[in-house]
Symmetry: C2
Subunit: 309 residues, 2 copies
């Protein structure tokens, strides 16, 4: 019987114990799932940052580290990690992200805030343009970014995407590289940031790049807080150059109550809820990768240690 | 050369003159388009309510009345109207409606108002359920209702639809008749009303039917104001039985400033902007029907005078 160590911390163990046991049984994997296997006996590590494991050295026979989250920036640089590392690609996580992104893009496209905030008895008939005339940019075309770009294009938005390496997605104008980034920024009335956090993407939206966006552009960031230079963003918002920023992720979370994002009239803070890994679907993704490992099949969503995602 | 009378009023004439001329030429129809043909010479009437024509008797050779709008309740009962009447089905109108409906359904699904209205420095992480676990009902499965139901189902919402006559739409649980209406209401956390206004649908959402909705249900009405009994809705909102109503259409428009909908904390008024006929695309729909009339082909979107839509 293979030994699976749950190293996601005690709170998550409560949420994951039953779904993981069920998913492993469903996948036909006979597993001993615990939080306290001796390291040298462990076959697979189910991992989350801030859990009990930070040194992977004693896990000498572990075949893979299976991350519970999509972002791996807290573990990918760990020098003791010599085992294969897999990202979480959870259908629930993808669906939640698509709903958040499409909801906020439509909110800004339709100008919903004006209606929600200003019910003052004045009839101001002014219909928004059609989505086909609204240019949206999606930065990052991984599993989440591609799903959001597809959903937005499905609603007729004029969508361009950007990724570091060349991609091709039907219905999306795909750009890559530094020149491509400038072109996508220059056309995007609404820009969605769904890039992995790497040394190359940290501070990607700095003062120079924010200045490339059209006047009044809106930013939706459900990706990672450090993708944006906060000071540069605040300056662009104060100047009215950027029309609004809806931010779900921050350099420090929870966002401190005194942070200037909270009271800023052009900022909407949401508390890292764009998407969360859901135990039932995430457990199936973990079990599927363990089944693959046992059958000698390639792991799904294996992290490239060079690119960092 | 056929004679086309534009009877949409002088303001709309400004918007439609050039697009209609262009669309007729594009459709290969040689037409004399004016606002002042003598009635007995007119071949086709392009019509809007509140325009110059209310008596159709003198238009003895007119082959069709082509309505500029989707709703025909202001003209269908006109006893002088003996000519065929066609509704407007405009791709721009459908797209605009889909964007409004999906935007507001996602707004309520995701609980956006709480974030927009309460940026108070308190981090309250609580992710909404997935759309697959959110039950939405669409009342009315004509061109607009069906398009909205499809778009919502495409985002994984659990969608049921209701129409007077039996319909079948892939991915939508379609119900019909009085019993079907009760079933759709009983399951719908969010209900969208996109029915035509007829004697049968006026006041459809009365006190009894509102009481069938689940506790805290949300209503989105971009269809017609009189579909809802306003007093019954206000009572249900005051009691908290209905969680919210987002209303785009009203018995009296503009909605008077003193109307209790405006200040109600559970009501969002939007000023009849869910969808508007757009001259460029609407002109093509009109020209296509004139082309068909001249070729002896059946008109598109012909109104059934018995059902009233």
């Amino acid at each position: 019987m293979i030994k699976v160590l749950f190293a996601g911390g005690p709170t998550r163990w409560e949420d994951y114990r039953a779904p993981l046991a069920a998913a492993l049984a469903e996948a036909g994997v006979a597993a001993d799932l615990r939080t306290d296997h001796p390291p040298e006996a462990v076959d697979y590590i189910v991992y989350a940052p801030n859990g009990p494991v930070s040194d992977f050295t004693p896990f000498v026979r572990a075949k893979a580290v299976l991350n519970l989250w999509a972002g791996v920036e807290d573990v990918v640089g760990n020098p003791t990690l010599t085992q294969p590392l897999c990202r979480m690609v959870d259908v629930g996580l993808t669906e939640g992200m698509v709903e958040y992104v499409v909801g906020h893009v439509l909110r800004h496209h339709l100008g919903l805030d004006a209606h929600i905030l200003r019910q003052d008895g004045t009839w101001r008939p002014s219909a928004p343009p059609l989505a086909r005339d609204r240019r949206v940019g999606v930065l990052g075309l991984g599993a989440l970014g591609a799903a959001c770009a597809r959903a937005l294009a499905g609603l007729n938005f004029d969508v361009a995407g950007w990724s570091r390496s060349e991609k091709s997605l039907p219905g999306i104008a795909c750009h890559a590289g530094d020149g491509g980034l400038g072109r996508v920024l220059a056309r995007s009335e609404i820009v969605v940031t769904l890039l992995p956090l790497t040394p190359e993407t940290e501070g990607l939206l700095n003062a120079d790049r924010l200045a490339r966006l059209p006047e009044g552009a809106v930013i939706v960031n459900p990706g990672r807080g450090p993708l944006i230079d906060d000071e540069a963003l605040l300056a662009a918002l104060d100047a009215g150059r950027i029309g609004h920023a809806t931010l779900d992720v921050f350099r420090e979370e929870p966002l401190p109550p005194e942070h200037p994002f909270w009271p800023h009239p052009r900022v909407t803070v949401t508390p890292h809820i764009a998407s969360e890994t859901r135990p039932a679907t995430a457990a199936r993704a973990i079990a599927e990768n363990i089944r693959r490992g046992e059958e000698g099949a390639p792991f799904l969503h294996l992290v490239d240690r060079d690119t960092g995602y």
